[in-house]
C-alpha cells in the first residue's frame, strides 16, 4: 500500500484506532480497519470534521460491528478452566481404558491393585510418623509406648479408609486421596527425620552421659577390684591408691553414691564394699575391696541386711618377689 500521499495525522489516528482494537483477533481488526486511511483521507478532503478521539472511534466501530466492548471482552483466559476440569473428570476412565487395552500394563495394574493394602499400611505409618518425627527427633527419647499405639491406630484407620469405611459421606473419595498425596509427599522428609533420629540414638548409646563408663577400666573393661602385691610377692591389704592429681583411684567412679558395688561376672553375682578400715563412701580407693559373703545371701541370691563380709579372692595367692627391691621391715627401710 502506498502511503506517501496520506496525511501523517490520519496515519497516527488510524494506528491509534487499531491499537484500541488490539484485544480482537487480527482478522477482525483487518476487517474493521481495512481501507480506513483511504476513508479518512477522503472524508478530510470533503471538509468533514477533524479527527477526534481514536478510542471513541474504535468503540463506535466495535459497537456497530456487533462486537463486545473492550472492557467486557477482556482477553481470553490463558487456561480454560472448564476444559481442564472436564479433562480431569474423565482422566481416571481414560487412564483405565489405556491401561486395560494393553495386556502387560493390565497385569501390572492387577498386581498393584492386590498390593493396595500394603500401601494403606505404609500410608498409616507414614502419616503418624510425619506428625511425630520432629518431636521424637528433638526429644531424643526411645520410641514411647503411646507412639507405637498411635502408629497402630494410624494403620487401622488408613486400612479402613482404603476399604471405604470410617469416612463421612462427603469426602468419601477426597479424604483417602488427600491422605495418600500427603503421605507420598511426607515420605522423604520422614526418611530424613528417621535417619536423624536413629543416628542421634546411636550417638546417645555410645557417647551419651547415661552410658559413659565410669571408674577404673582396663582397655575399656571395667575393673571391679584391685589386688596389690608387695616387693616380696605377698598380697597387701589396706592399700590406698591415688592418681597423679591426688584423686582417689576408685573402681566405682567419683560420683558413685551406692553402699555396695555389685554386678555379675563369670562366676555369678558379686557384691563389694569398702574395707572395715575405711568404711563408707571414703573407702572405695582402699584395696582390695571386701566381698559380701555369698553364704549369707537370701533365697534369691541377694545380700541380706548386715551381710557379713569375707576377703575377696585374689587372682594369685602371691607373686614372685622382686629381686633387688627394698622390703619394708617393721616400718623401717
Amino acid at each position: 500500500m502506498k502511503t506517501l500521499s496520506i496525511d501523517p495525522a490520519i496515519l497516527t489516528f488510524a494506528a491509534a484506532v487499531r491499537n484500541a482494537l488490539d484485544d480482537l483477533p487480527a482478522d477482525d481488526i483487518d476487517d474493521l480497519t481495512d481501507g480506513l486511511e483511504a476513508d479518512l483521507s477522503e472524508q478530510a478532503a470533503d471538509g468533514r470534521p477533524a479527527l477526534a478521539d481514536p478510542v471513541a472511534y474504535a468503540d463506535e466501530l466495535r459497537a456497530a460491528a456487533g462486537l463486545a466492548p473492550r472492557a467486557a471482552a477482556g482477553r481470553a483466559p490463558l487456561i480454560d478452566l472448564a476444559l481442564v476440569r472436564a479433562n480431569l473428570r474423565h482422566a481416571p476412565e481414560d487412564l483405565a481404558r489405556a491401561i486395560r487395552s494393553r495386556p502387560g500394563l493390565s497385569a501390572i495394574a492387577d498386581l498393584l491393585i492386590s498390593m493396595r493394602p500394603v500401601w494403606w499400611t505404609i500410608r498409616g505409618l507414614v502419616l503418624v510418623g510425619a506428625l511425630t518425627i520432629e518431636w521424637l527427633a528433638n526429644s531424643a527419647q526411645r520410641v514411647p509406648l503411646w507412639l507405637w499405639i498411635a502408629a497402630s491406630v494410624g494403620v487401622v484407620v488408613s486400612v479402613q479408609w482404603g476399604r471405604g469405611r470410617w469416612l463421612p459421606t462427603r469426602g468419601r473419595r477426597a479424604i483417602p486421596f488427600v491422605a495418600s498425596v500427603v503421605a507420598v509427599l511426607a515420605i522423604i522428609p520422614l526418611y530424613i527425620g528417621v535417619t536423624t533420629y536413629v543416628s542421634r540414638q546411636f550417638a546417645e548409646v555410645y557417647s551419651g552421659a547415661g552410658f559413659e563408663p565410669t571408674g577404673l577400666q582396663l582397655d575399656g573393661t571395667p575393673i571391679t577390684n584391685v589386688f596389690a602385691y608387695g616387693p616380696d610377692g605377698e598380697l597387701l591389704t589396706d592399700v590406698q591408691l591415688f592418681d597423679q592429681e591426688g584423686n582417689p583411684l576408685t573402681v566405682t567412679g567419683a560420683d558413685f553414691g551406692g553402699a555396695v558395688l555389685d554386678g555379675y561376672n563369670e562366676i555369678g553375682y558379686y557384691a563389694l564394699i569398702p574395707r572395715s578400715s575405711a568404711p563408707g563412701a571414703a573407702g572405695w580407693n582402699i584395696y582390695p575391696l571386701v566381698s559380701l559373703d555369698p553364704a549369707y545371701f537370701d533365697a534369691d541370691g541377694l545380700p541380706t541386711a548386715n551381710n557379713p563380709t569375707i576377703e575377696s579372692t585374689p587372682p594369685f595367692e602371691r607373686t614372685q618377689p622382686l629381686v633387688g627391691a627394698t622390703v619394708p621391715d617393721g616400718g623401717e627401710k
Binding site: D31, L32, Y57, A64
Partner: protein, 119 residues
C-alpha cells in the same frame, strides 16, 4: 426529534439499500447515506455495520488498489443481502404504515365509567 436512535435500528437496511445497485467503499457509502439525508450517523458506525453485514454473509468484499493513495475496500450486496433487504423493506413498510395510521388518526380511548357515575 433526534433520529439517531431510530436510525440505529434501521441502519442495516439503509446500508444495504445504498449499495443495492452499485458496490461502494467505506466513505463512498457514508457519502451516499448523507446524500439520502441520513446525516446523524458517524462514519465509524457505518464502517462497523458494513463489517457486521459482511460477517453475517450479506455482503461481498474486495480490495481495490488506488493510484497514488491507500487501497480501498469495496462492498457489494449478494443474494442473501438482497433477500434480507427485501424482507426488511416489507417489514418497514408495514410498520411505517401502522405508525402513520396511528399518528394520523389517534384511536379514541375506551371510556371507563367512574364509581358513582351514572350512564
Amino acid at each position: 426529534m433526534d433520529t439517531t436512535q431510530l436510525l440505529k435500528g434501521v441502519l442495516d437496511v439503509a446500508v444495504l439499500a445504498v449499495i443495492r445497485d452499485d458496490d461502494g467503499y467505506g466513505y463512498d457509502i457514508v457519502r451516499r447515506l448523507r446524500a439520502a439525508g441520513i446525516d446523524e450517523i458517524g462514519d465509524a458506525s457505518v464502517y462497523g455495520t458494513l463489517r457486521r453485514l459482511f460477517a453475517a454473509g450479506m455482503l461481498t468484499s474486495y480490495v481495490v488498489p488506488s493510484e497514488g493513495g491507500p487501497h480501498r475496500k469495496y462492498y457489494g450486496i449478494n443474494a442473501q443481502g438482497r433477500a434480507m433487504l427485501a424482507a426488511h423493506a416489507a417489514d418497514w413498510n408495514r410498520f411505517a404504515q401502522t405508525m402513520s395510521t396511528l399518528l394520523d388518526e389517534p384511536v379514541a380511548p375506551a371510556r371507563v365509567r367512574k364509581i358513582g357515575e351514572n350512564k
